[in-house]
């Protein structure tokens, strides 16, 4: 059984400019101990989707369901969500400097997290646990560094602290929202290694939000490619890189710097506005293979060549055409 099963998630915000449909019918599932990478440009709805299922989206209209170990996170009350957050579903974020409270020692911040969910544990025991966690993520002299403030750590070390805090209560699911984007390239690999090691040790499932396909290649088991609030393609990691189907996925891969080429191939145009999204494929305006049907009818997500693990929302997908026809 899936650890997290999200069905037809829709999130919209009422703004002075109109209703922003940030997530438009997203479905996915995460298996225990596996890593799902959610890939897409800024504004594609990947962060909103994950923050919504943990109850951190404010002032939004939300429909759909997200079952986590039998609880629907969308309809759950605030207290239930609060008990799950941190203990069962932990999160780390993009910028580890601004994500840690600048006025508190990191030991205090980790202990606070442990004590929020374990009221029995003594402060000393929580501190020992915090020190063990820091050692686990590779911070030297962990016991002493508990009394340091976030600004006394380097960027990579701060993200290790965030990871240590997130793993403190052995969560079943870790949501990592662009965990390496703000870090130096040399440090990125170290942080990813730490994440993978802890995942093996704790058996944690990871939702990895990123726009970096290099990170996807390094970490992911399954991949969702998002565009304009919807999934364009879902596939196991190998298929995304070697048997990809959707023109947007191909565009993303083509825009990567390659070793034998001096030029980058960007995707022309910009993503559509999420306020006035017309009927039809959201990628139509930028797609090199666009034809008439793409502009009038939205292609649903359907299996590629009969493989249920690989789906693509494109009219060039024969299975899509068949599914709609039948």
């Amino acid at each position: 059984m899936a650890l997290l099963e999200v069905r037809d998630l829709r999130v919209s915000f009422d703004t002075p400019d109109g209703i922003v449909r940030a997530v438009r019918g997203l479905s996915f599932s995460v298996e225990p101990g596996r890593t799902l990478a959610v890939v897409g440009e800024s504004g594609s709805g990947k962060s909103v989707a994950t923050q919504t299922i943990t109850g951190l989206t404010r002032g939004a209209t939300i429909t759909g369901s997200a079952y986590f170990e039998g609880t629907d996170l969308i309809t759950a009350d605030a207290a239930t969500l609060r008990r799950l957050r941190g203990a069962e579903i932990a999160m780390i974020f993009q910028d580890p400097l601004s994500s840690l409270h600048p006025h508190y020692r990191i030991g205090w911040q980790i202990v606070e997290m442990i004590q929020a969910h374990d009221r029995q544990i003594s402060k000393q025991a929580a501190r020992r646990r915090a020190a063990d966690l820091l050692t686990l993520v590779g911070i030297p002299r962990a016991a002493e560094r508990l009394d340091d403030y976030p600004h006394q750590f380097s960027g990579g070390m701060r993200q290790r602290v965030m990871i240590a805090m997130a793993m403190a209560l052995d969560p079943a699911l870790l949501i990592a929202d662009e965990p390496t984007t703000a870090l130096d390239v040399t440090v990125q690999a170290q942080v990813l290694t730490v994440m993978r090691r802890l995942q093996e040790e704790f058996g944690t499932a990871i939702i990895l939000i990123t726009h970096d396909l290099g990170v996807v290649a390094e970490m992911a088991d399954e991949v969702i490619v998002m565009y304009a609030g919807a999934a364009m393609e879902k596939a196991p990691r190998r298929d995304i890189f070697y048997r990809n189907h959707h023109p947007y996925t191909q565009g993303l891969l083509a825009s990567l710097p390659a070793q034998n080429s001096l030029r980058l191939t960007p995707i022309p145009g910009t993503p559509p506005s999420l306020i006035s999204l017309a009927e039809g494929c959201p990628f139509a305006a930028r797609c090199p293979h666009v034809f008439d049907r793409c502009r009038v009818e939205t292609p649903p997500l359907a299996d590629v060549q009969g493989d249920p693990r690989h789906q693509s929302a494109c009219w060039l997908n024969h299975d899509v055409t068949e599914a709609v026809a039948s």
Binding site: A90, H103, M113
Partner: protein
Amino acid sequence: MAVFLLRRLGHGILVLWLITLAVFGLFFVAPSNVAQTLAGRQATPETIALIKHRLGLDLPIWKQYLHFVENAVQGNLGYDYYHQVAVTTIIGQALPVTVSLALGASVLWLLLGVFNGVISAVHPRSLADRGLTLFALFFYSFPSFLLGLLLLYFLYFRLTLAGYTWFPAGGYSPFSQGPVTWLQHMVLPWLALALLLAATYTRLTRGSMLDVLGEDYIRTARSKGIRERRVIVRHGLRSALTPVVTQFGIDLGQLVGGVVVTETVFSLPGLGKTAVTAINQQDLPVIIGIVLFASAAVVVANILVDVVYAVLDPRVRLH
């Protein structure tokens, strides 16, 4: 830290010295007839000259100034012209009144301002936010003497007429002569001062809190699964208080130097009222003494603010 404090103290002494120069200069630019007033209408020029000599007013200004500085360094601020009371004694008598006023009012306005500011920031654009903003701006735009008079009219005059003598018309009763009487005398002045200043603090806290609540570390705090109240107070307010503390230090420093209007309206014999009386009588030693004391209060408050700032925010280092 020690170097920082020493340097700041040095700056403070320099400021105080410049202030004595300015006050002395101003006083002698204005026409003075202290000796004439003291001697009375029928005094002979000889009497006036004698009085001038006794007060040291016949000396050249620079000599008078040197004399003043020489005494001041030894902790003697001189004697008032009319009763020959030591200026330090006068300040010592007025200070408890002003401190009672400033401290009590500051507790009130801090509680009011910070509480209202947090409520407004947690529910921005809500009915509560709009109501509290209106409340704050209403009192903020009041002239302070009018607010004092209105409080006296309703809470002293009308209440006393109705048979409830809860608050006196003004004046001061020392804490040592009974805390209840002291409290009765202080409540209305506190309100007059606090309602006025609470507005600044409501707006300051609201703005600062709104900024902080948008920070990434607040999202982290929520993602940890701690209670919302704790997120707001321990994580949000903790950061949002820094600018409030700065403002508070400056305000309190200024108030300790005398609250002229409030003290006058409620006939509180504090530093502010004493200063006004002294100015009317051209009583130079008292004026200089109070101005010097008030400036010292502001200087010390500013140093304290910097120290507290460093305690609140570990990223700030004093040097």
